[in-house]
Amino acid sequence: MGIRFILMVNKQGQTRLAQYYEWLTLEERRALEGDIVRKCLARNEQQCSFVEHSNYKIVYRRYASLFFLVGVDNDENELAILEFIHLLVETMDRHFGNVCELDIMFHLEKAHFMLEEMVMNGCIVETSKSNILSPIQLMEKTS
């Protein structure tokens, strides 16, 4: 099924965005996020971007204070996901201009709109930045 969740977490371990493509109860999410964040945040730059955690493989990438963590199946193409994270960041960059943690925090809905255009049911729908952003731009124009 591919991508099973996307998390954005800051250095302090606070979740800034969570999008799941499979159903987990609130308790399961809390436990999972806690475990993953602990594992990934403890890693350093010299280590690889993949962490195996129980049922998942986590592909993660750090941008300044923010970690992007994507949980995938064990047989997913790791590097493709790693660059998909970067595509997401570039897309947000194009919209916000030098995106930072606060942008995502205070514009949670926009971050969700973008993800909605990029991923559906765990699969990648769109990789063209202008196509991803066009609904948001349309909305801004009308409001």
């Binding site: 971007s49 047989d75 193409n77 590097l79 926009k110 063209s128």
Partner: protein, 1024 residues
Amino acid sequence: MALSGMRGLSVFISDVRNCQNKEQERLRVDKELGNVRTRFKNEKGLSPYEKKKYVWKMLYIYMLGYDVDFGHMEAVSLISAPKYPEKQVGYIVTACLLNENHDFLRLAINTVRNDIIGRNETFQCLALTLVGNIGGREFAESLAADVQKLLISSSCRPLVRKKAALCLLRLYRKNPDVVNVDGWADRMAQLLDERDLGVLTSSMSLLVALVSNNHEAYWSCLPKCVKTLERLARNQDIPQEYTYYGIPSPWLQVKTMRALQYFPTVEDPNTRRSLFEVLQRILMGTDVVKNVNKNNASHAVLFEALALVMHLDAEKEMMSQCVALLGKFIAVREPNIRYLGLENMTRMLMVTDVQDIIKRHQAQIITSLKDPDISIRRRALDLLYGMCDVSNAKDIVEELLQYLSSADFAMREELSLKAAILAEKFAPDLSWYVDVILQLIDKAGDFVSDDIWFRVVQFVTNNEDLQSYAAAKAREYLNKPAIHETMVKVSAYILGEYGHLLARRPGYSPKELFTIIHEKHPTVSTSTIPILLSSYAKILMHTQPPEPELQNQIWTIFNKYESCIDVEIQQRAAEYFALSRKGASLMDILAEMPKFPERQSALIRKAEDAEVDTAEQSAIKLRAQQQMSTALVVTDQRPPNGMPAQPSIGPLSLVKVPSETVDSQNPGDQGLTHPNGVVYKEDPQPPSQDIIGDLLGTLSIEGPPGAVAQSPQSATYEAEGAPSAADAAALVPVGEESGSVQPIGNINERFYALCLKDSGVLYEDPNIQIGIKAEWRAHQGRLVLFLGNKNTASLGSVQALILPPTHLKMELSLVPETIPPRAQVQCPLEVMNLRPSRDVAVLDFSYKFGPTMVNVKLRLPAVLNKFLQPITVSPEEFFPQWRSLSGPPLKLQEVVRGVRPLPLPEMANLFNTYRLTVCPGLDPNPNNLVASTTFYSETTRAMLCLVRIETDPADRTQLRMTVASGDPTLTFELKEFIKEQLVSIPTAPQRPQGPAAPPPPVAQITAPPPAASQDPGALLAGLL
């Protein structure tokens, strides 16, 4: 902030952000939740804008980890809002908060459907995304047709169609019937001609899901995938927006190659050539560049190409390129590439013929075992485990042991289990095996499960050569000041049993052994004391002549424990005390433990389970759920508890019976895992043995006499349905059900093809492919079964039983119970031919996919002609032989009618493919054919066989055949065998031309034909 225009939301978010601790956060959130609740209650005053704001707040709160169930209704109700901004929030937040089982979601089906079939594109997109993310079965039933229409509609814009594709994927997973529409596969193939890369990307994901379940139906998509790949690789018609750091959509490339991995082969030569060209280009043309993103993207494509090449496993040269690349990758500095190199090399182990090349990288892989990154270490461990065999087991296991002391706690258990298994599987000699296990216990006792030390005891018990060695080793370890309790157990046990073998060495007198064991006594727990007591009793027994001082010491201990609160200890103490006063009879009672019956290592079984538990479980679990929903449709008729009403077990029961009998004699495997950790209920002696000896033999190690009464226990064991019987039964309903999993290709044709060649596919269905590779040498053969899981979910309950005919001795190595996703396991099968016979061995194979059991019975191509060796004989050798075999039963003649008409050269070819060497020129009559071969079996040894065929040019449907050999059975069997081939000729590597012969397949055995009443040998000789 101004943009989103939701000031209240921003204020709340920054309030939460400013909270100093979790408690403050909770207070602030509670306050907000109260606020939202009241606002929702007095809904009248709530403007759409406010409602939207509150719903976003809820999502934010939910993300922080707080329950917001009360607001689900509000979120869902926004879906029916007339304006886009509200509707959008409704859809997105609903998809985040709810799952397919929520009742509210069902309430919204109509609204969602109206949006999907409505004219408003943006509404369509929202609705499709919601259904694509959380739509359930009911959605599948009511929406599938509409979604399909949108996907293939020419009037629909790409932005809608790409969402429709993934929406359909979801619906398909909920109910696979949604694609059971006439011509759907063709539509799917057309979809792949799409120019828009967004639509193509999502359609490719849809295709992957479809082909992973049933690639047969989507053959027509294969060339389209290759075309797409070519288009991307050549960068033709790729808009700039879809080029990522100069690489045409790496994600689509990866997806496309993934789809191709679900097709077993690429048959069309043109498509094949194009595909290999592209792959070659990717393999050769991927350079390391400075830009990280570009580098990652191009390597993402490269790794997928590697996987595809491995899957196709066709071009030898390309395979070695792949191995070379991987070898390079595992040594680079970039950790991601190193990780992926190791991971893919492990996958590569599944491919035949590259193991040796991989072994060359052993040193590098061992270095990775010490990498500072645990992710990489894990990959290295998996790879080392996978690549281990007899040749490198010593090195690898020693590395693992060395690493054990410094390994992370998280890895130690896995590591010690793996080391133990490798040591057992590949031990070059048994003393090494004992060393390894003892070291393992010494270094990581906490992580060594009981199974591991039970196993070493079994080995020592069963191998006399090993016993004194093990005793000496155990003594060495006991000398250490602090040792793990497991070490105390195993050492005490071994010294009790075998310490006396070394009694002459200094330091091994009974007294000394007792002292050194007893020194550990104060530190051990109750689970170890029973073992110590047994050990003391045995030492006492071996002390001849008795030493009163030692005796007193041990008796004091027994006395002390006679009042122990632990019943096991108490009983042992009391019994040993009583027994040890019986003097000489003690000798019999406490005699050495008998050998254990050979059986599968509990360890290896456990490892198989563990493997499922760890690495692959995730995918399996998830997919199992998906499959479950799939299977609901397929297996409705199945009895609910999986037990058939009336199993007709047939040959299965024949095979199962012996193992059941064994089970009832020793409730064996149970004993091993008995919770008190001491009990070996093994009792290899058949019940006919001297009852007393039997009983006491058990007693000596197994305290409670209650347990000695084995029969009732084993009876219940059986009555409750011994697992094996249950298994056998569980296989049976499959027959009725097999409609759900259809074999691909014709099983018979595959079998006949394999009778002629030594490798190929024996069986295939949507889940599994069973390949065979065989080598034959004289009367022996070695077949390797390649069980390849084609799915991305594991196949469980895999069972392979060989039902050999009486003339073949066959031994199948262990077949793992689970085959991981997209993995291939190899199971060697040793064959020995005892005597000539045409009977065929059957492989009874079953597995479970999701809830569906699949069971097939397949003939194995270990047929008579495999034991033939072509041989060319000269006339000087031929004629004396021919003459000396003068008539029945050594020489048999028969007129065969209803033969498939074949030109003579073709018949000669046929003979040659069956390894009957046609000797041209031996028979001067051009209508005749003479052939020779050597047959090998254990009873006949190498035996020359001679065959002569006389054909009638006027009537090709009949011929006269004479077969001669030095063994009557062989002559008969070979004659019948050749006849079968001539009459049916079903094999046809290439189909024989012409209409099928009228099938009177029963060859008539007739009296010698009128034409030749003399001995044909004489006739032949006369001719020359």
